[in-house]
């Protein structure tokens, strides 16, 4: 939903955001998940970016880590937490702004100080490839180095933005801060040597709504003549639709039943299905084509198409958004074949 350059996520968008959040949670499964602490600081985003380690929030997060996950409290380790912020904390982008509130997904990497740079570069690459896999145009994701405020020196501080949309929209911020001196007294044992060190923190911040919008925009803007929304199969809020082609009204009841049955099967298998009745009935091929166009625009990757013939032999079509071709499959392939498709 667009008002001026103000973007608001509606139900589909929110569903999409939810999927994105889920992906984030499953990335780096060994991380310690902590309760988020709402942002209270009022400092500017740039300062906040490098001074977070001095805040009480960070202190209490580390306290939580030591208390709740004592075995993970060593270098290197990963801590994840989520919070919401009433004001957008990432720097605004020239393309759009998102109506608040924003969900902030933060990952803190506590790493050995002497290998911090190396970790920092590895994380950059890891994050980049993660976004590339999610985006419908991987070439759009770039790493943009971020200028440091003058008072910070490069060996101890580093920052980059991962941006989408030709470098316009920041989807993730990575900042590295070396703890030491006034940056608090946190010490953790080095995983290799056991020696107690002051870790370097690499913080990744993702603002869920902004990132969602950026990915959605990527999906729209793909230069194809066909109007379809290219959403990543794993993130698409609706993975599959069901349609039936009704050539004579005589079998209406049976086809409806069949669609309903398929809906049960798919939902039971855990696939996300288009809402409402769950299936669409087309009068003829043209009507069906119109339906395809619509679900392409919604970004639904696959549609199961049953016809009268299906009632006889169980063969149906699996129509793909991307190829716009239909593959013939058998009712006994449902839902395993689809599950396989969505697994990766």
């Amino acid at each position: 939903h667009l008002t001026g350059s103000q973007l608001e996520l509606l139900s589909h968008g929110r569903a999409y955001a939810e999927q994105l959040q889920r992906q984030w949670l499953s990335l780096r499964p060994l991380a310690a998940h902590l309760k988020g602490i709402p942002h209270t600081s009022s400092t500017s985003p740039t300062t906040q970016r490098f001074s977070f380690a001095r805040t009480t929030e960070f202190g209490s997060l580390m306290q939580q880590l030591l208390e709740e996950h004592p075995r993970k409290a060593k270098c290197p380790t990963v801590v994840k937490h989520q919070s919401s912020s009433s004001s957008a904390c990432l720097r605004g982008n020239p393309l759009f702004s998102v109506t608040s509130p924003a969900s902030i997904l933060t990952t803190d990497f506590l790493v050995e100080p002497d290998r911090a740079l190396e970790h920092f570069y590895n994380l950059q690459r890891e994050s980049k490839i993660w976004w590339m896999r999610l985006s419908s145009n991987p070439s759009r994701i770039r790493i943009v180095p971020c200028d440091l405020p003058e008072e910070l020196d490069p060996p101890s501080y580093q920052a980059i933005d991962l941006r989408s949309q030709a470098g316009e929209v920041t989807v993730e911020q990575l900042s590295m801060v070396r703890l030491g001196g006034d940056e608090g007294s946190l010490r953790l044992p080095d995983g290799r040597t056991g020696e107690s060190v002051q870790p370097t923190v690499i913080r990744s911040v993702i603002e869920l709504e902004t990132a969602t919008c950026a990915l959605l925009l990527d999906g729209c803007d793909h230069g194809r003549d066909a109007q379809s929304l290219l959403l990543n199969c794993a993130l698409a809020p609706y993975q599959c639709g069901i349609a039936c082609l009704l050539e004579s009204s005589r079998l209406l009841g049976d086809l409806d039943d069949l669609c309903l049955h398929l809906k049960h099967v798919l939902i039971h298998a855990g696939l996300r299905l288009c809402q409402g009745r769950g299936f669409f009935t087309a009068k003829d091929n043209r009507h069906l084509a119109e339906h395809f166009a619509e679900s392409d625009m919604l970004g639904v990757p696959y549609t199961l198409v049953v016809s009268e013939q299906t009632l006889e032999n169980g063969l149906m079509k699996l129509r793909s958004r991307d190829t716009r071709l239909s593959e013939t499959i058998h009712i006994s392939d449902v839902p395993d074949y689809l599950l396989n498709i969505f697994k990766n």
Binding site: P138, P154, H261, H264, L325, S332, I341
Partner: protein
């Protein structure tokens, strides 16, 4: 100088040190002005007859002590003629800018003059090694091989009389013939070795083979991040040879053995040097690549080739032994166990394998006995051997960053391939929809793909018995409704058994797409799941065109690639090409989408866009190799068929006409291949092809397809790594233990880093011209932003407390060629146009050679530069034509020919004949063209050679040089101008006039390039003299030289480099009869003092795998680039004679 503007030729390297000694800007009255301004500079300034600035007076007095500068009346008279000639070629001798004078106190020459000096210091340097080598050469009978070899870990010595075995730490003698064996399947570490001295035999066995535990348990690599899949070599698995004093090891391809010697990896040089019989063989009997192909071919040799075939051989020990020693051929059979076998098999055949190894040692010794005297006779100057020994001791220090580099390059490579694959997959998916209404028939790229579709058909149900009940998908739901529906459609599930046993892949999709997809794992059909699933395989499967890659034939089509605007097309017998329509009515055209083709390219219109910088750079990189391959082939002239001529008027691009017409409406033209028109382009997205041609020519025909640009870009980025990664990852890095590091590095922060080294596989004289060869490092590309992994060289990094010091010899070959011409024709530096342009021309005012040629012919300076070098390397007019067309794909053949002709006329000049004296009475004594000459000879019924002298070049800027080069090259025993080294016997062999002509370009090329090798050897000798044991030789490739030196001595080493340049050039000019040296070539334009081995010390080496550059990404600061004045300042003064280590 900024990286971009720096050029490797002398004239651009002029640096004016106005700060120190301000000089007037008005050039015409420079000496007078200088006189007024500063008395001192007047005393030091000198110029010659053609106003080329000469070295400062103090330097001249030290380098040419017995040769005061005087000018005779006669010289003054000829100066006038030189100046006129220069003016005629567009040279303005007043246009040069003077350089600041340099004041240095050199150590006294070791001899009466510079020539004696070099002879003496080189003699001194090789002496300790010759003392070890000569006894081996003179040893007619080696000690007797022991009957039985001891199966002990480490070294064993054998008593020469009774063969008693006794373990030793390392061989007692310092002069050894040596050979190592490696069990290839077990990695690169040595398994066993044998050595023989004049006194006794030795064998070495790896503890791995004897299953002894290593003395020191292997420690975990310090930096923890080492890739577990790649071997981590430590010095303990290598062969110790002792670290005291000079030692000498002889072997065949000895650098392979050297890389397995423990002490070679220590940061301090142990003084051991290596004599490579393979290199000696190349010097004495090396062959051209053309000759090598002949040696390898099984065909019966032509009679004219017999002479040189007898004088040469391929490089393997077997062949070399056959050539010099004859007798029974060496057996290489046992070697197979090392190549294919396991350690256990080596253990089982231990005795015979050590005997085999010892056999190779003996063979190497026999070869040495015959070969070394030949070498010593043909290369009389001691600097040749000294240079070879130094070249064989190359050393590349690395640290943990090496592993990081490989990791990052590999990961980036994977990321990029995923990205490319994604785009191609997406394009493939989109292309599928062309199946609707057969729209593919109108697609210019995909019309000839196989669009056939398969259907899923059910078997006929059995008539009598009912179908077996299929298993219900477990627990579809719990509500009554859900169960009702399940029951209602159960009969459909039951029909599962009517599906074909082998399910077709993607029924409903076109065949070409199906080929790109993988069959899903059988779990897809759960009910067939009697087969056991392989979990892994299941995990790997994903839907869509997963098998696609840039290497596939479909890729260029999916990207809708065009060549010069025409759609690409693949023909099985011709490879890749493109379609050019010649008919506009589509009657009778069935498959080809002619209408769409005409719509896209109705009137061929060709943007006249030349190729850019990148292509010239590449051509420059490959030039010497290409010319070398080209030489020796007999040039063939292609005949233009009438049909082709007609086509050429229509089509002016670079496609290759191949007589192919499709559906009587289109020409099919092949894409140009780098190796010539007879080759097929197999993949337009491959490196060779992408590097060669600019993006302007190859582009996507679909404006909405940004993916194509990106995929081409990715393919370009990945190619370097794809082609080099095996060699790079296979580099044998030996990581040093803490106690093997110098005290400075040990302990402290450095502990967190690993330090190691690579001993590159340098063949000290690896080619006919005696240039060194090394598969990885000498061909290492300079770092380029679009080449993944091209930061390779900068990953050679000096350990803490050390610096890498080195320089590029500015336009070395150009100078050698031009100074030969100057000395020969005029006896004066810069007196020929080529000489003047080389010495005093400048890029800035367009007076250098490349600018002048470029202007005259109407091409870019970069292109002119490549072609200029090609010509000096000996390439002919036809080669220049090919280059021109390659740079400017839009030049027509005739245009390129005209330009090449013009260029040759103004540079090389005309080939003319002068009459022999006996014909002066009947004919006018003047220069005759070759046409006139052959006619006159024919009229007199005589051969050309009877009537005329050997032809010579006249009227071009480079005529003098070519005349001199040809004169040297046509002598019966050509010798290099500086060190008097002889040409290989393979090219010396007398085969009559025709043979002489045949190998002439190669010989000319040899004069310059082998001269450059002499130059390098002299520099190595001079550096060793000036720096003594304080520098360690790292690497030299082409005109580049690098040393590893302790940080505090780095400025002195930089100054020593400058002085080395001065003295080496002085020696060279003295050898060809000149007694002075121009200032512009006297010193390096700069010497780099750096911590890493990059080409220029301010390069940040950003590449896709090093996106942040060296400074930010690796924390490596730029190095320093020191001019001679800066080096003097930093080295603590200009009095070098005070350096107390100089003997």
């Amino acid at each position: 100088a900024s990286q971009a503007s720096r050029e490797r030729y002398a004239s651009s390297s002029l640096k004016i040190y106005r700060r120190a000694k301000p000089l007037p800007k008005t050039t015409p009255q420079k000496p007078k002005q200088a006189e007024l301004n500063e008395a001192g500079s007047q005393a030091e300034y000198a110029e010659n007859l053609v106003k080329v600035q000469m070295i400062s007076r103090n330097l001249h007095a030290q380098l040419f002590p017995q040769e005061p500068r005087t000018v005779s009346e006669q010289q003054l008279a000829s100066a006038k003629a030189y100046q006129d000639e220069l003016r005629r070629h567009g040279v303005d001798i007043e246009s040069s800018t003077p350089q600041a004078d340099v004041q240095l106190k050199l150590p006294p020459l070791r001899g009466a003059n510079i020539e004696e000096h070099f002879h003496n210091i080189a003699r001194e340097q090789v002496q300790p090694y010759e003392e070890l080598l000569l006894p081996l050469v003179q040893c007619t009978e080696l000690p007797k091989r022991p009957q039985r070899w001891a199966f002990f870990a480490g070294w064993t010595a054998y008593d020469p009389v009774d063969g008693t075995a006794s373990p030793v730490d390392h061989p007692a003698e310092k002069g050894l013939v040596f050979d190592v064996e490696v069990c290839v399947n077990e990695g690169q570490a040595p398994v066993l070795a044998t050595a023989v001295s004049t006194n006794r035999w030795y064998s070495w066995v790896s503890p791995k083979l004897t299953k002894h535990r290593l003395r020191v348990p292997s420690v975990e690599p310090l930096d923890g991040a080492t890739d577990a899949e790649r071997p981590h070599h430590t010095p303990d698995e290598l062969i110790p040879l002792g670290a005291s004093g000079p030692g000498l090891v002889v072997g065949h391809n000895v650098s392979y053995d050297r890389a397995r010697l423990k002490e070679q990896y220590l940061i301090e040089d142990t003084g051991t040097r290596f004599v490579d019989t393979m290199s000696l063989h190349m010097c004495v009997s090396g062959v051209t690549s053309y000759q090598r192909a002949m040696l390898k071919s099984k065909k019966e040799p032509a009679p004219e080739d017999l002479a040189w075939l007898e004088q040469s051989s391929l490089n393997s020990l077997v062949e070399v032994h056959r050539l010099y020693c004859g007798g029974e051929p060496l057996s290489k059979e046992p070697r197979n166990i090392f190549v294919e076998g396991t350690l256990e098999q080596v253990r089982q055949s231990f005795q015979s394998l050590v005997n085999y190894c010892a056999g190779d040692v003996e063979a190497t010794h026999r070869v040495l006995r015959v070969l070394y005297p030949l070498y010593a006779e043909r290369f009389p100057h001691p600097a040749s051997l000294a240079g070879m020994l130094e070249m064989g001791s190359a050393y590349l220090p690395v640290n943990s960053n090496w592993e990081r580099y490989i990791r990052e390059a590999q990961l980036t490579y994977e990321d990029l391939s995923i990205e490319a694959k994604y785009h191609l997959g997406r394009r493939a998916k989109e292309a599928c929809s062309l199946l609707h209404d057969e729209k593919y028939r109108q697609n210019l790229w995909l019309w000839d793909e196989d669009w056939s579709v398969q259907e899923l058909k059910m078997k006929q149900p059995p008539k009598r018995k009912p179908l077996a009940r299929a298993e219900v998908p477990s627990n579809v739901g719990t509500t009554a409704e859900q169960r009702r529906l399940q029951a209602k459609f159960q009969h459909l599930y039951d029909q599962h058994c009517l599906l074909p046993a082998r399910r077709p892949l993607l029924p409903g999709y076109p065949l070409w797409y199906r080929k790109l997809c993988r069959k899903p794992p059988p779990s897809r059909y759960k009910r067939e799941a009697a087969e056991v699933l392989e979990e892994e395989e299941e995990d790997l499967w994903s839907p869509g065109a997963t098998e696609i890659s840039t290497g596939m034939q479909i890729a260029p089509k999916l990207l809708s690639l065009c060549w010069e605007g025409y759609p690409l097309h693949y023909e099985r017998d011709q490879g890749w090409g493109f379609l050019v329509p010649f008919r506009s009515d589509s009657g009778g055209v069935e498959r080809l989408p002619l209408e769409q083709l005409l719509e896209r390219c109705p009137v061929p219109e060709f943007a006249r866009q030349g190729a850019g910088q990148a292509e010239s750079d590449l051509a420059m990189d490959l030039l010497s190799k290409q010319v070398e391959q080209h030489l020796g082939k007999r040039e063939h002239y292609k005949k233009l068929s009438q049909k082709q001529q007609r086509l050429e008027t229509q089509y002016q691009g670079s496609g290759v006409w191949c007589n192919k017409i499709l559906e009587d409406c289109c020409f099919f033209l092949k894409l140009p291949h780098k190796n010539g028109p007879s080759f097929r382009v197999g993949n337009p997205l491959s490196r060779d092809f992408l590097d060669k041609f600019s993006q302007n020519v190859l582009s996507s025909g679909d404006p909405s397809c940004q993916e194509a640009t990106r995929v081409v870009e990715i393919a370009r980025m990945m190619s370097y790594w794809r082609n080099n990664r095996d060699r790079i990852m296979g580099q044998m890095v030996v990581w040093l233990d803490q106690q093997q590091l110098p005290a400075e590095i040990r302990g402290g922060k450095a502990q967190l880093r690993a330090y190691g080294a690579i001993c590159p596989q340098v063949v000290a004289c690896g080619t006919l011209t005696r240039r060194a060869m090394e598969p990885t490092w000498m061909t290492a590309s300079n770092s380029r932003p679009d080449r993944l992994g091209s930061e390779l060289r900068s990953m050679v990094q000096a350990p803490p407390g050390f610096k890498l010091v080195g320089a590029d010899v500015d336009s070395q070959e150009l100078w050698i060629a031009s100074v030969l011409g100057d000395a020969y024709a005029c006896g004066e530096h810069g007196a020929t146009p080529l000489g003047w342009m080389t010495l005093s021309g400048s890029k800035a005012n367009g007076s250098d050679m490349h600018s002048i040629t470029a202007k005259a012919v109407g091409i870019s300076r970069d292109h002119a530069k490549v072609i200029n070098y090609a010509r000096i390397y000996g390439a002919g007019q036809q080669f220049a034509e090919t280059l021109l067309r390659q740079f400017n794909p839009t030049f027509s053949a005739s245009e390129a020919k005209a330009k090449a002709m013009k260029m040759f006329a103004i540079t090389k000049g005309k080939r003319v004949y002068s009459l022999r004296e006996e014909f002066h009475d009947e004919l006018e004594d003047r220069a005759y063209s070759s046409y006139e000459a052959s006619r006159l000879a024919f009229q007199r019924n005589r051969t050309l050679g009877e009537v005329f002298h050997r032809p010579y070049w006249q009227g071009g800027t480079e005529s003098a040089m070519f005349n001199r080069l040809e004169e040297i090259a046509t002598q019966p025993q050509p010798q290099t101008p500086f060190l008097g080294g002889r040409l290989s016997r393979a090219l010396e062999a007398d085969g009559g006039a025709e043979q002489e002509q045949r190998f002439l370009p190669t010989r000319i090329n040899w004069v310059v390039q082998s001269g450059a090798v002499d130059f390098l050897h002299l520099m190595l000798v001079s550096m060793r003299w000036l720096m003594g044991p304080h520098v360690r030789f790292c690497l030299s490739f082409h005109d580049e030289l690098r040393y590893l030196v302790k940080e505090d001595l780095a400025p002195k080493a930089a100054l020593a480099m400058h002085v080395t340049n001065l003295m080496t050039r002085s020696f060279c000019v003295s050898r060809i009869g000149l007694r002075d040296l121009p200032m512009s070539v006297a010193f390096f334009s700069s010497v780099e003092v750096d911590t890493v081995l990059r080409k220029e010390c301010n390069m940040d080496c950003r590449t896709p795998s090093n996106p942040h550059g060296l400074r930010i990404g690796y924390g490596i600061e730029p190095g320093q680039s020191l001019s001679v004045a800066e080096a003097v300042e930093k080295a603590g003064g200009s009095d070098i004679s005070k350096w107390n280590w100089i003997k």
